[in-house]
Symmetry: C2
Subunit: 227 residues, 2 copies
């Protein structure tokens, strides 16, 4: 499903160049549950943005379900993204003045879902992450972990076939994090592909495979049989 | 140094009231290294904001070094904060268009430090958190963990006597997180008081004492001798 071929990403900053990805090749099949680990600044979020069609490689190719998206136009990329991908951003990326229910409804608005059904799906998604009683709270009326859970509910509400989650339990206590992992495992068992960045080994243990990134390169691909 | 007496915090939200803190009493001495743990939404950040004079209790008292700050005016609170407290916010709270060096210089600007000395102190603080080569990067040119480290450097640059850190390693891989904990331990050994929220037991293990919060109440105060 996800086919990255010698992908690089450079940022030109006046006098210096930052090489965020230095030639990464990886293949992820439909239905896999993959974790990505690596040091701070090693290129994990950059890689996630490319996989999620939010950014393009500088060189190399990225095929999503056989289609070369690395050279696609922005609107074509957006269409693919809205229909198939649920993205949990590392910094949550919520709208500042919008309450939880409307944040979660947003992907359904883009998909043209009617208001009554949107509201029901959004409230169900919020209940699933333990926020049924916070639907009318805006981000500054929510704790850090509650904001993260709103972002997770938003990523799930369209029933995407691919979930990209960048540190989905970073702001959550161990118990709440385990509940979110339970949701991901259930979705993966139903056939949904999950790619998840985490720095916590206990969270990565829920995946079947771990890609280790360091300095923009893939340094290990670990599918230990006990997973 | 920190004396909280039956502190409550309520948020009135039209039809319902959220009881974020329900009567919390705790004493922290100068020079202690205390961790605060608890489920998502249990009141940890609310408590940290009150300790850091960014917010006031609804009822109860808060004495900082013997002074009742719970009824102080905003400008008096700000003066105390700027002189004595370094705050690492859960959501980092960086300025959107400002590069790392100027973010870290900001508390020194408020303290009236001259430009040349500000630059030097800011660059030293960035080096200490491993970001010496990222001084000219703006937040959207930094990884999540790098943004968090800029926030940490900013909290340390005025050599405060009290550090309040809300999930200071939340966005950091294990190795980088351990380096930050090394910095905190060194500062604490030099007499600085540290209060730190974390949901990771390995991070809490660096503190001498753990306050456990649940539903706005203190449910355990743990100073196990092996710490
Ligand atoms: N401005 C506000 N208005 C209404 N409710 C609020 C407001 N700020 C916080 N809350 C609520 O108060 C409770 C405590 O929030 P707080 O941010 O202190 O939790 P926390 O322990 O830091 O959680 P986390 O681990 O998720 O960061 C939460 O249930 C939250 O929804
Ligand atoms: N827009 C940009 N301009 C310049 N450099 C950038 C930009 N975005 C990211 N970088 C740099 O690229 C490198 C990789 O960043 P990335 O966000 O992918 O790291 P990461 O592995 O997600 O880190 P973390 O674990 O801290 O979130 C970092 O060194 C960062 O400073
Ligand atoms: Mg990242
Ligand atoms: Mg919090």
């Amino acid at each position: 499903m996800i086919d990255l071929q010698d992908v690089t990403k450079r940022y030109e900053m006046g006098t210096q160049t930052v090489h965020a990805l230095r030639g990464l090749t990886a293949h992820i099949d439909t239905g896999e549950f993959v974790a990505i680990m690596g040091p701070s600044g090693s290129g994990k979020s950059t890689l996630m943005n490319i996989i999620g069609c939010l950014d393009r490689p500088t060189t190399g190719r990225y095929l999503l379900d056989g289609t070369d998206v690395s050279t696609m136009r922005g609107d074509a990329q957006a269409a693919i993204r809205n229909r198939h991908v649920g993205f949990v951003f590392q910094r949550f990326n919520l709208l500042a003045r919008t309450d939880a229910r409307h944040q979660v409804e947003l992907p359904l608005v883009y998909s043209g879902v009617a208001a009554r059904e949107r509201r029901q799906l959004a409230l169900e998604a919020l209940k699933a992450v333990g926020l049924g009683d916070r639907a009318d709270h805006k981000p500054d009326e929510l704790s850090g972990g509650q904001q993260q859970r709103v972002a997770i509910a938003r990523a799930l509400v369209t029933s995407p076939s691919l979930i990209l989650a960048d540190e989905p339990t970073g702001a959550l206590d161990t118990t709440t994090g385990a509940e979110i992992m339970g949701i991901f495992e259930r979705l993966n068992a139903a056939g949904i592909t999950i790619v998840m960045v985490t720095h916590e080994p206990e969270v990565a243990a829920h995946a079947q495979r771990v890609l280790h990134i360091r300095d923009g390169l893939l340094v290990a691909d670990d599918s230990s049989p006990e997973r």
